[in-house]
Structure formats: C-alpha cells, structure tokens
C-alpha cells in the first residue's frame, strides 16, 4: 500500500482518531499541567520546572524506580521464558493440551485486584502452613519485608501473566508453515534445534511484542501492587505507578504526579522503544 494512497489513511483513521482523543490529547494536557500547580480541578499558576526538580529529590520516587526496575528485569525474563515454555508445551500433541491451555490462561480471567487479594491468602496462609509442615523457613513470613514482598509480586505477576504471554506466542507459533518445520526435520534438526534455529527466528515478531508487553506492563503494574502489598511494608514495595497514583490522590499533588508520570513515560518509552527498534531490526534481518 502506498502511503500517499487514500486507502492507507482510511485504514488508519479509526485508530488514529481514537488514540488522539483518548491518549494523546489528554497526555498533552497532562504535560501542560505538570508545569502548573494543578490540584486535579484547577490550577492557579505556572510553576515552571519546579515539579521536575522536586521529583528528582523525592526519595520515594527514586526508591520506587529502582524497585520497579528490579521487578521488570526479573519478570521480563521469567515471563518470556515461562510463557514461551508453556506455549511450546501446549502446542505439543498430547492428551489434555487444550485443557491445559485453558488452565494456564485462567488467571487472566480474574482482575488484578481480586487476584492480589487471593494471593495474600496463599502467601500468608498457604505458605505459612506449608512452611510449618515442611520446616522450610523460607516459606514463612511472606510479604512482611521487602524481599518477600518483591518475590511475592513476581510470583503473582508470573502466575497471572505467563498465560497471557503464552497465548500470544501460541498465535504466532501457529503461523509457522508446516513445510518449513518438516524441512528442518529432514535436515536432521532435533526438537531443540528446530526451536532455536527455525521456530524462534520465525516467531521473532512475537518475541518483540512480548518483550515489549512484559516490559511496559512491568513498569505500569498497579493493581497487583495495590492489592497484594499495598506498597508495604513501609512503602518498600511501592512501584512507580503506585507512587504516581499516591502522589496524586493521597497527597493531592496532581501536578507533581503528572510530572512523575511524564518522566516515567519518557524512561519507559526510551527503554521499550529501544527494545522494539532493536528487535525489529533483528526481525528485518531475519526476513
């Protein structure tokens, strides 16, 4: 399709309009507010870069940032490995693979908030009971400190999201033409070699998508954070999104919150887009 052609634009119109209305215009407004003393309803004056200066001295923000970075690194790796693993598992031919697909995906059918509440049960009751029964100390006292809070969040996120990532990988896996896999079998490739040499390169777009998704979701995660640890104890597990929300609503500092959101956006965008650009280039080399 030529980009000057009418159809190119017609095909894009609905999404572009919706994006503009729903995302871009509000973001620009938000950007503007970040230079004011906006309280969510009105603002009285422009404050220049004051909010941006403030946020770089905001210990909570910095803490949340590093906590989130750690979380993102761990979950991106785990989610992609496990998600892809599950996808490969359930695309094998064996009895019950369809059932398992459903099972692995089911956590997504429950909203993040409720999930967090349910996992609290598991961590506090289930782990405790198990830990006592098996005399495994590390199972005790979950969510009571930063470390277990961190891993608690990781576990819940992985449990919930890997099914999500799985079905994306499945969709792309299904698109690989049979004949190419057959050719690889004839060429003597083992299952693992077929995966690394054929399947994986062929699903490179899925990898890009999933990397991006896990990356951006990791940075944006809020519901699970709220319901599982609520940032506690002592705000040690407060992640970026939560810090932004709390700044706005608990402290009624909306303009600072917008400024944090903008900085957050810039950081995440830089990381994610770099990642996408890199992977897309890799993909382009592949095709």
């Amino acid at each position: 399709m030529k980009n000057r052609s009418l159809s190119f634009w017609l095909f894009l119109t609905p999404t572009l309009i919706a994006l503009a209305l729903v995302v871009f215009i509000p973001v620009i407004e938000g950007l503007f507010y970040s230079f004011t003393d906006w309280d969510g309803l009105t603002f009285t004056k422009m404050v220049g870069f004051q909010n941006y200066i403030t946020l770089f001295h905001d210990k909570a923000f910095i803490n949340a940032f590093w906590f989130t970075v750690g979380f993102v690194i761990v979950t991106v790796i785990m989610l992609n490995v496990i998600g892809l693993g599950l996808a490969l598992l359930v695309t094998q031919k064996f009895k019950g693979n369809n059932f398992l697909r459903t099972v692995f995906f089911m956590p997504n059918m429950i909203g993040g908030l409720i999930l967090g509440f349910i996992w609290q049960f598991i961590f506090t009751q289930g782990f405790q009971a198990l830990g006592n029964a098996l005399h495994m100390h590390w199972l005790l006292n979950w969510l009571t400190n930063e470390t277990t809070g961190f891993w608690g969040l990781v576990i819940v996120t992985v449990w919930q999201m890997s099914g999500y990532i799985m079905i994306i990988y499945i969709a792309y896996l299904q698109n690989i033409p049979n004949e190419i896999i057959e050719a690889a079998k004839i060429d003597g490739a083992s299952a693992w070699q077929r995966f690394t040499k054929i399947t994986f390169p062929m699903i490179a777009p899925a990898f890009t998508v999933c990397m991006f998704l896990t990356l951006s979701n990791g940075f944006k995660i809020y519901d699970q954070n709220l319901s599982l640890t609520n940032g506690g104890p002592y705000n040690s597990t407060q992640m970026l999104a939560m810090d932004i929300v709390n700044t706005a609503y608990n402290s009624a500092n909306f303009s600072l919150s917008e400024a944090k959101a903008i900085v957050f956006f810039v950081i995440v965008a830089a990381i994610s887009l770099l990642q996408v650009a890199y992977n897309r280039k890799r993909e382009a080399d592949l095709h």
Partner: protein, 408 residues
C-alpha cells in the same frame, strides 16, 4: 413534609459517598424518601474496594458529572473541594449537630459538611476470654493494669484457647498511624483536627506513652504481625475467638456479625485504651461528612439539603439512621434511641456521658504525611527495622517539612 416546597418540578440529586459498606442502606433510605417525596429522584453511588474515593470524585467533577451530595473525609478534603462546597450552616442538621463534630468542616465562617455519624474505637475484647481469665475488662483503667492483664492472659493462652492476646495488623498501617497515634499526637491539639491540620509543628510530646502501647500490641500479638491485615485481625482471629482483644472500633461490628451472629451479640465489648492522662475516655469522632455541591442549581442544592435534614432530623429519618445504618448519631435528639449492638452502644454511651476525646487524625489523613511518613515509619518500627526515637523524629520532621511547603 419539607420536600413539597420544591415547586412541583422534578429534581434529581445524585449522591457519591465513600462508605461502601452502607451503600445498600443509603439506597433503601433514598427509596423511602422518594416515596414520600414524589418529585425527588435520588441516585446513590459509592466507590469501593481498591480504588480511592478522591480520584473518582475529582474526575466526576472535572468531567461535568459532579454529584449533588458527596462525602468529605476531613480538613484536607475540605480544602481540596472548597470550590464546590455549599454553606450548610442554615440546615436543621447543622444546627442539631453535636458540639465539636463540625469543627473540622468549618472554614471561613461557613459550615460545609454534615457528619455521617460518630464512631469510636478502643480495645474490642472477647468477653468469654476475659471471664475465663478472671479479669474484668472495665477495670483496666490504667496502662499498668492493662499491661498486667495482658501478661496474665498471655501466660495462659492455651488454656484460654487463644493464639495470642492481640491480633495486631501490621499491614494496616492506618490502625497505628490514625487511630493509635491520634491518642498521643492529638493531646497536643486538644483532639482538634483543624488545629492539627493548620499546625506547622508536631510536638508529639506523648511519644513515649505511645511506645508503651504499641509495644504491647506488637509483643503480645499473633505473629508475624506484618502479615496480618484487617480481615485476619477481625474475621479470622477475633471473630473466631482466637484472641482476647484487638484495637479497633465500632465499625467492625457488622463484620463480626457476618462471621458469627451469636458471638457478636453476646461476647464482644469495647473499652477505651487507657491513655495516660485521658483514662476512661473514648476517642469519638467523625470520619466522613456530607457536602452539598455549590455548583449545582439552587433548586437541586435545596433538595439535597432537604434530604439530609430529613435523614438526620425527621422522625422517620432518625429511625433509619439508627436501625438501618446502625450509626451512632452525631446529632442531638436521639436520646430516646437505643443502639442496636454492644459496640455502638459503648460509643453512644461514652458520647452521651461526654467521656470522649476528639479525633485529631482527620487533620493529617488527607495529607501526604500520613502515607508517606507516618505509616512507613511506624511499619518500620513494627518490623524492627528502626528505633522508636528515630521513628518519632522522622514523623516530626516529616510533618514540619510538609507544613512548611504547604500554603494553609
């Protein structure tokens, strides 16, 4: 009787309020009101669960979808929404409000809020356990006595069939930062939220008293306390008779009742925490206020005020407030009512007898000091990561810092 004044034209008022657990009852009350006031339509909405009330109110206001009646949690909210708050001083309800209950919502000579109710908190105890242990809870009027009782109960935990004296919810930082700290911080402000809210400094002179109490709650609780949350505290342990007492308020009654009706009716009671210097007094206050949106048409505002007046001052309304909402009224004229459960009865009794101290904590709950300073520091202390002195110091410094930069 009052609704008919509205010139025959239909009005619709919308209510957005922050007490989800009572939403159903409010809806029923509104229905009743609609029956007797055919020209008024009332839509009641509530915000619950994981989302805070404020953002929703803000977005509703900024999107032109503002409610006629909304709720305010304290001076900070009063400040935030001041552009939308109508003066309610001329309402019957405002005039009937009990002394002191309006202090947090008076601003610039106006009264912008009407209390939902009053609530009180203290040590909610398990009658049977105390009986078995041979201790009269009402005798625990000083810290020493309380401490002795706690130790005694703790020593015979297994005979009493409990897992701990307390169930202390380390996860629910507000239990300490709001309720407990209020008892000690509030003394410096006479229990006045507004005063606290306006204060540049937080003396926190009674910090050591607080340490004694918090240490008791921490040491003699089911462990690990940092894993306990509200539902563990109330639903899982207290309501199932697994602890002797918890630091909570009358609002937990419906929860206990939901778990075990008989237990709730027969076996629970509440005593005040014996705060040195304020022994025998229960902290009673208001957590939420009704406000009327001043940006709405006068007709709508009027209808809203009429409704609130009706609810709190008419005969039918009062009945609903006490029997349906199980509110301890913040208004005069309820002396012939009997509260429906032991906890509200306790609160009602203390407030009727004026054996109360004020709630100062609404003066800081709406500020960032609470979530950003008080709660994390207290949690740090509770998890043994920080000394008490440091905790207190941080709290004081944090307050001073916040107040310096704020403009009220």
């Amino acid at each position: 009787a009052c609704g008919n004044s509205s010139s025959g034209k239909d009005v619709k008022i919308t209510i957005l309020q922050g007490k989800v657990e009572n939403n159903k009852q409010f809806k029923q009350i509104a229905k009743d009101y609609e029956k007797s006031h055919p020209h008024v339509k009332i839509e009641v909405t509530s915000i619950g669960g994981g989302t805070q009330y404020d953002p929703v109110l803000k977005t509703r206001i900024s999107s032109g979808n503002a409610p006629t009646i909304f709720s305010l949690a304290g001076p900070a909210d009063v400040q935030q929404f001041k552009a939308h708050e109508a003066d309610l001083s001329d309402t019957k309800a405002a005039k009937a409000a009990q002394p002191g209950t309006l202090s947090a919502v008076k601003t610039g000579g106006k009264t912008v809020g009407l209390p939902f109710n009053v609530e009180g908190y203290g040590l909610v105890y398990n009658k049977q356990v105390f009986q078995k242990a041979g201790i009269d809870p009402n005798s625990l009027t000083t810290m020493d006595k309380l401490e002795a009782a706690i130790k005694q109960i703790d020593a015979q935990k297994s005979e009493l069939g409990i897992k701990g004296v307390f169930a202390t919810p380390g996860k629910e930082a507000w239990v300490f930062s709001d309720h407990l700290a209020n008892l000690y911080i509030g003394q410096d402000f006479n229990g006045n939220a507004l005063k606290l809210y306006k204060s540049k400094k937080m003396p926190f002179t009674k910090a050591n008293d607080m340490k004694t109490m918090i240490d008791l709650e921490k040491t003699y609780s089911i462990q690990p306390i940092m894993q306990l949350d509200y539902s563990a505290q109330v639903n899982q342990y207290f309501s199932q008779g697994k602890v002797a007492m918890i630091q909570q308020g009358d609002w937990i009654y419906p929860t206990i009742e939901g778990i075990d009706k008989d237990f709730a009716k027969n076996d629970v009671g509440m005593i005040p925490i014996p705060v040195p210097g304020e022994e025998g007094k229960m902290p009673v206050g208001t957590s939420l206020y009704w406000a009327v949106n001043s940006k709405k048409s006068t007709q709508e505002q009027k209808a809203a005020k009429d409704f609130l007046d009706w609810m709190y001052t008419s005969k039918e309304g009062k009945k609903q407030v006490v029997n349906k909402l199980h509110f301890v009224p913040a208004y005069k004229g309820y002396s012939n009512f009997k509260m429906s459960d032991p906890l509200t009865s306790a609160v009602f009794e203390y407030s009727q007898n004026h054996k109360t101290t004020g709630w100062a904590f609404p003066g800081y709950t709406g500020t960032s000091w609470d979530p950003d300073v008080a709660q994390p520091n207290l949690q740090k202390y509770l998890s043994g990561k920080q000394s008490w002195d440091k905790t207190v110091q941080n709290m004081k410094d944090g307050w001073a810092k916040q107040q310096k930069s704020s403009n009220n």
